[in-house]
Amino acid sequence: MKARVHVMLKDGVLDPQGEAVRHALGSLGFDGVEKVRQGKVIELDVADGTTEDTVREMCEKLLANTVIESYQIEMS
């Protein structure tokens, strides 16, 4: 089974990379992009029966830095 973890900078934490992407889109002529936030997706192949709680523990311990990042878990 797979677990997919989305890690994003928390709201309110400045995202200079997202801001640079927004500027680049503007200069390519894409108007109206008001905000870009850049995050990452981490895909895990995990043993059957792995619980979301276990993946949450992985996020808390390593995959996300909860001082600045939030995360969402999708199990499939």
Partner: protein
Amino acid sequence: MRAAVVVFPGSNCDRDLAVAFRDAGCQVDMVWHKDTALPDNVDIVGIPGGFSFGDYLRCGAIAANSPICSEVKAHAERGGFVLGICNGFQILTETGLLPGALLRNAGLKYICRTVPLIVGTNDSVYTSGYTVGQEIGVPIAHHDGNYTASDEVAAQLAAEDRIAFRYADNPNGATADIAGILSENRRVLGMMPHPERAADEKHGGTDGKALFSGIASALAAA
């Protein structure tokens, strides 16, 4: 006085840090990240700059979970001294020994130059050789040195006189111009600038030297 310098895959300031400790009169042991113990009777642990584990995932995140880091944490929790420079600072925030986090520089560029710092406090072994408000020149070399903390944490650091160094001219967007902070017991220092690169005449500057001599004289007297 005994110092240990931790080496991770990708550390590149470990030997410079060892030289700076040695020049200040310390006996220095290098410790590999897979080691599970620090040398006996270590007074201070140095976490060097570099790109531990290639900065994968987040700068310092993987190093912070390496076997030696549990020992470094235990050492700090026993009241031991820990100095983290650049990637070492990032690692210390990832371990939770210091609050906040280091984000990508606001200008998105890697910055490598000597910058002016203002000494924020001289109430620590690291800064006792300076005067409060003194301006010193110390090199920075980082892409992710933008110190970020919540307003409450930043206010607490200021109120508790734990901001060791501030940038005179903020190069990276750091909250409250913070370049280096102390732990609550003032024995753990994390800083983005590299004092070990300003500790010998041949470096082109010696403003970082007082940090190492301050540690050595404080710990020799202890």
